[in-house]
């Protein structure tokens, strides 16, 4: 009974020592230590200490008297627990010293017989005191070691939880967990997160300290599927892999698998196992927390993009439906004989159909343009073009569209030629001019000015309409932005496309309100 308990305590200490002590001493001298620490050697050692003491005392007894010898023996026996001698070894020392004292020191010498009654009493008392004090001190010592171990475990756990709780991301949590596991249990660590409940990600987390090959991954995957540990120190697949795999299980589901490679000589007893379990539980909580955080973040992003999608969808579908409604309405009314017979009605229907078709065409072009800009592979096909030609053709196009505003164009005769992508710049200018035409009252004037400056071609498109509200000016070129309260029609894409095309040429575009009224767009296209 006593011995069994001793062994258990012994085991505990040895592993805990090699694990905890190493935090400071690393593995220094562990081989020597292990030989010293084996129980058999310790029995010999305790016998040796008593024998040597006996020999020394034998020569000293003339000076100190045989009774003092017992005190010295008692002193030595009570010292033993301080050097990690166990109760059995101490008991051996007590018994041995008692008999050495009796045989060699208590008169008559060299017999186990004791002459005087008081010597017999002393022998009896010595034996009891030596055993009891040795054992008591040994027990205190063991308890102290246990307390130390507990403290170390608690502080290791405390360090882990503190650092985990201050970790800000999943990467942080993973890195911190791996570091602490490595320090406390002397293991190599790998973490593989779950792709879903059925499958792990192919690669372990990059901060993992050992490589996972296909065979190891399959074991980890097995652990993930079965939600039970496997590998070394377990009942499952213990001989194939040097590693032990633990599933990371939370209430929400399976988070992944933790792989540990313990040192070869490691012993995994109940205590270490329970500490490890606590570690894993803490790590799981931290990972789960970060998982949930990232999930929330991802949901937010999804919500935002859904909002954007809805805005886009609403505006585009409205923009598509209106001209389609017009065209369908016009076409289906042609079934009506009254309408077919009325030529002026037919002309008006035809005109409206044409306007609607133009609007559809412009919308489709805008959508294609913004897609080109968004995709990032807008390649410019630049060539030399006459600035005068550009504006002449542009104005002809616009005049055909039948707007009510006056369009005044003044392009300097010496505007010359410029190196640019003709369709893109034409589209940019058209978008700006259309914007002015759409949002200024009928009868307003739109002025288009172009002249060469030292840096490049400056184009100013100004109107005498109502201008923009102050807060709209800075948002005007943003995608899908529409000035609040403006009339129906339009996607909020035209100006952002214009900006994109101008900037693709290295140019700039800006807008400001004019005094007393109206707005002006200023475009600067550099010479090269």
């Amino acid at each position: 009974m006593e011995t069994g308990k001793n062994n258990f305590v012994n085991n505990k200490t040895s592993v805990a020592n090699s694990v905890n002590g190493s935090k400071r001493k690393k593995n220094f001298g562990s081989a020597v230590k292990t030989v010293w620490q084996t129980p058999v050697t310790k029995y010999f050692l305790s016998a040796l200490v008593i024998t040597v003491t006996g020999i020394i005392l034998y020569y000293l007894q003339l000076h100190i008297g045989y009774q003092s010898v017992s005190l010295v023996f008692l002193f030595i026996v009570s010292l033993l627990p301080l050097f990690n001698f166990k109760p059995g070894q101490i008991f051996l020392a007590a018994v041995m010293s008692a008999f050495i004292w009796n045989y060699y020191f208590i008169p008559p010498h060299f017999t186990l017989r004791i002459g005087k009654v008081e010597d017999a009493l002393m022998f009896g008392l010595y034996f009891v005191i030596a055993s009891v004090s040795g054992l008591l001190i040994s027990r205190i010592r063991t308890q102290q070691i246990q307390i130390n171990q507990k403290e170390k475990k608690t502080s290791a756990l405390y360090d882990l939880t503190r650092e985990l709780s201050s970790s800000k991301s999943l990467d942080d949590v993973t890195g911190c967990s791996i570091r602490h596991l490595k320090e406390t249990f002397h293991t190599e660590v790998a973490v593989i997160y779950a792709e879903n409940d059925k499958k792990l990600q192919t690669l372990p987390h990059p901060s993992s300290t050992f490589k996972i090959d296909e065979a190891e991954w399959n074991i980890a995957q097995f652990v993930h599927l079965n939600s039970g540990k496997a590998g070394r120190f377990t009942d499952t697949i213990q001989f194939i892999t040097p590693a032990t795999y633990y599933p990371l299980l939370s209430k929400e589901g399976k988070l992944g698998v933790l792989g540990l490679i313990f040192p070869e000589d490691a012993v995994l007893n109940n205590d270490t196992q329970s500490l490890l379990n606590t570690f894993i539980a803490q790590i799981t909580i931290a990972i789960e927390r970060e998982y949930l955080k990232e999930l929330a973040k991802r949901n937010l992003v999804i919500q935002e993009s859904e909002k954007l999608y809805k805005t886009l969808f609403d505006s585009v579908s409205h923009e598509l439906k209106t001209p389609i409604t017009t065209i369908l309405g016009a076409v289906t009314s042609l079934r009506d004989e009254k309408i077919i017979g009325n030529k002026s009605v037919l002309t008006r229907l035809l005109f409206e159909t044409n306007v609607a078709a133009e609007r559809l065409k412009r919308l489709v072009e805008n959508l294609l343009d913004i897609t080109r800009l968004e995709s990032g592979n807008l390649t410019l096909k630049k060539d030399w073009h006459s600035v005068n030609d550009l504006f002449n053709l542009l104005i002809n196009k616009i005049r055909k569209e039948g707007y009510d505003q006056n369009i005044i164009v003044s392009v300097n005769e010496d505007a010359g030629i410029l190196f640019f992508d003709y369709p893109l710049i034409e589209q940019a200018l058209l978008n700006i001019i259309h914007n002015s035409l759409e949002y200024t009252p009928p009868g307003s004037s739109i002025e288009i000015n172009a002249k060469r400056t030292t840096e490049g071609l400056a184009i100013i498109i100004s109107d005498n309409g109502n201008g923009f509200p102050e807060e709209a000016l800075k948002n005007l070129f943003k995608k899908f932005y529409r000035v609040p309260g403006t009339k129906a029609g339009g996607t909020g894409l035209g100006l952002s496309i214009a900006k994109g095309f101008v900037e693709a040429h290295g140019g700039t575009i800006s807008v400001r309100n004019r005094k007393p009224n109206g707005a002006e767009f200023i475009i600067l296209l550099p010479f090269n």
Partner: protein
């Protein structure tokens, strides 16, 4: 020359307004356009139109509030213009007192038919003793419905439902409206009653109940009795 009917169009899209006025003017309607809800209400108040076409998505006020405001002082027929797949909005507008709806993009001849039906119904007097629709005839006084001059055996509820349809030929009637009128306000949500009774009525009045031509379903909105010509 007949008296010209006036139609007020309330829609923020100028293109839609234009195409509507061109076709309606060609059909001898007088058209008044309004791009904002407020202007529309004023136009209805000032011109006493025979019909209003109202877009549900208006910039200043939504179509619903324009409709409710008009309904506080006028019973002019209102046709709602709405986009497809917005049955909820349509039902809401119909329950607020709109008379009919049409989804964009619309078919002009269908729209014209709706406009005619709604104007005609509004001008009908309630004093008529009977109405004929296709093979069917209802006698309001005797509370009897005939099919090909043969009396149909109807329960009281079936008769009340048919009465609603005959009084509103060509007009959509929402589930809510029918349930309230026939079963009373406490049953406004029990649309399964309605399904059962419509099924029974169809068996009695339709030649082929699986392909009804008198009482048709406006999915998600309600039922409509079509005007059938022999």
């Amino acid at each position: 020359m007949a008296i010209q009917n006036t139609v007020v169009i309330i829609d923020d899209e100028s293109q839609i307004r234009k195409i509507l006025s061109i076709t309606l003017e060609a059909e001898d309607y007088k058209v008044i356009e309004a791009s904002k809800g407020k202007d529309g209400i004023v136009a209805v108040a000032n011109n006493h139109p025979q019909l209003v076409i109202l877009d549900l998505g208006l910039p200043d006020k939504d179509g619903f509030s324009v409709l409710s405001e008009i309904r506080t002082w006028s019973s002019v027929p209102v046709i709602i213009l709405s986009v497809r797949n917005s049955e909820e909005d349509i039902v809401k507008a119909l329950d607020l007192g709109a008379d009919d709806y049409i989804t964009k993009p619309f078919n002009t001849s269908e729209l014209l038919a709706r406009i005619r039906a709604n104007i005609r119904r509004n001008q009908q007097s309630d004093s008529e003793g009977s109405v004929v629709n296709g093979n069917l005839k209802i006698d309001f006084v005797k509370r009897i419905v005939y099919k090909k001059n043969k009396e149909l055996k109807l329960t009281n509820t079936e008769y009340l439902l048919l009465l609603m349809f005959f009084k509103n030929i060509d007009r959509v009637l929402t589930h809510n409206f029918l349930l309230k009128e026939v079963w009373g306000p406490t049953h406004a949500e029990d649309s399964q009653y309605l399904r059962v009774f419509i099924g029974q009525i169809r068996k009695k009045i339709e030649d082929d109940p699986s392909q009804p031509k008198y009482i048709v379903t406006d999915s998600g909105v309600g039922y409509r009795m079509l005007a059938v010509t022999n």
